[in-house]
């Protein structure tokens, strides 16, 4: 590689390395910027400049890579109306599922399963588009649920638990790290339902039921409307998250409903929540909010 090409390549890498977006868009931007710099450098060398001087000038006139990357991120962070709908869809499906459970509606249940299957197929076939991160959070449900069930396992299930639980933790850590490498905000988007689920599980004292495998739907019947409302709120916030362009707006769109759900659960289910329960729910909301808070700090 010549000095000229190395300089251009380093510059393009520093610009595109900061792009938190899907790999296909990043590759397109990489090609486009590289082509532009090569055109400019070639034009300058034709005018008699040395390769080194030409590449230096081309890079200087292109501008600060950090600022350009930031502007490109802002442009590409706004999803279409369809993206926004698909981002909010898994939360709406959970709301529908809870309605089915609450009202014993087979049609709701069937519609939920069909749409969930279609959404999962689209997410996989389109190389993990931004909207798929809100689906990914729910994909971790069976992984974590199985770990919780195995916590109280007896006999030979204990051995399975010892082998499975570290693997489940590794899977969750891997998924979070992969998502964080794409964009920290997507970590919050992905984990947001977990904060809501944790808060409601503590409020309805469902954790012991999950651990002993004897979960009943009593909590859903008592707080059915509130539970559905929480996931509808999450759906609205995800919709706003996908459509809004400024990153601080995306961060606020996620934090506000989570704080709202925690506040509601504390106020109206307070008598059923112990201090420890409340602290765990608050910790879950805080953990989910950390990536967005880091966004504010810049």
């Amino acid at each position: 590689m010549t000095v000229m090409h190395k300089k251009l390549s380093d510059y393009v890498s520093s610009l595109c390395g900061g792009l938190r977006m899907d790999s296909r868009t990043r590759e397109e931007i990489d090609r486009e910027v590289r082509a532009h710099l090569e055109d400019h450098t070639n034009s300058l060398t034709r005018r008699g400049l040395s390769d080194d001087e030409a590449s230096h000038r081309a890079i200087r006139s292109f501008g600060n890579p950090g600022i350009i990357a930031r502007d490109l991120i802002v442009v590409h962070s706004q999803g279409s109306w369809k993206d926004a709908f698909l981002t909010s869809l898994p939360h709406l499906l959970v709301a529908l599922l809870l309605t089915a459970c609450y009202r014993h509606s087979f049609v709701c249940l069937l519609a939920t399963v069909l749409v969930a299957g279609l959404g999962a197929h689209m997410a996989v076939s389109r190389r993990a588009p931004p909207w798929s991160f809100s689906w990914l959070g729910y994909c971790l449900v069976p992984v974590i649920l199985a770990a919780l069930l195995l916590l109280n396992a007896t006999h030979w299930w204990t051995l399975l638990g010892i082998a499975y639980i570290p693997c489940a933790v590794l899977v969750v850590v891997y998924v979070v790290r992969q998502t964080a490498s794409r964009d920290l905000l997507y970590v919050s988007l992905m984990l947001a339902p977990w904060a809501v689920i944790t808060a409601w599980c503590i409020a309805t004292q469902s954790f012991s039921g999950i651990r002993t495998g004897s979960l009943n739907a009593a909590g859903v019947h008592v707080y059915g409307r509130e539970l559905v409302g929480s996931f509808v709120a999450l759906a609205i916030s995800s919709f706003v998250f996908a459509r809004i362009r400024p990153r601080w707006g995306k961060a606020l769109a996620l934090i506000i409903p989570l704080a709202g759900v925690l506040g509601y659960v504390s106020l109206y289910c307070g008598q059923e929540m112990s201090l420890w329960g409340w602290l765990i729910a608050a910790l879950a909301v805080l953990l989910v909010s950390i990536p967005t808070v880091r966004e504010f700090r810049g």
Binding site: L15, E32, D39
Partner: protein, 112 residues
């Protein structure tokens, strides 16, 4: 370029890009050269700022980018104006024409 000129340019970037792309499909580097040459060197863009503008306009459906090969074989991303972009350009031209006529009549050189 003064701050005032920079502000004017910022407000007119979309219109200038649409105008060039409307005449013929073009790619980033060629677009910058065209803008410089049509304005006799007055519009000198900080080149990197062009791409966020192009991508935003593509996202808004005003232009469409397609990879095409140059005669030499290298590929460049050509931008084409869309029907929505044409509508926007027509409206901006009317607004600009009215606005510049009004500003000229207010800022007319002092007599004598």
């Amino acid at each position: 370029m003064t701050n005032c000129e920079r502000e004017f340019l910022k407000g007119s970037t979309d219109c200038l890009i649409l105008s060039v792309v409307n005449d013929h499909p073009t790619y980033g580097y060629e677009l910058i050269k065209e803008l410089e040459s049509r304005s006799d060197g007055y519009f000198h863009f900080r080149e990197g700022t062009l791409y966020p503008a192009l991508h935003r306009m593509e996202h808004d459906g005003l232009i469409e980018g397609k990879w095409e090969a140059l005669p030499g074989g290298q590929e460049r991303r050509y931008y084409y104006i869309t029907p929505r972009g044409k509508d926007m350009l027509a409206r901006r031209r009317v607004v600009w024409s009215d606005f510049s006529a009004a500003v000229r009549s207010v800022l007319k050189p002092e007599a004598g």
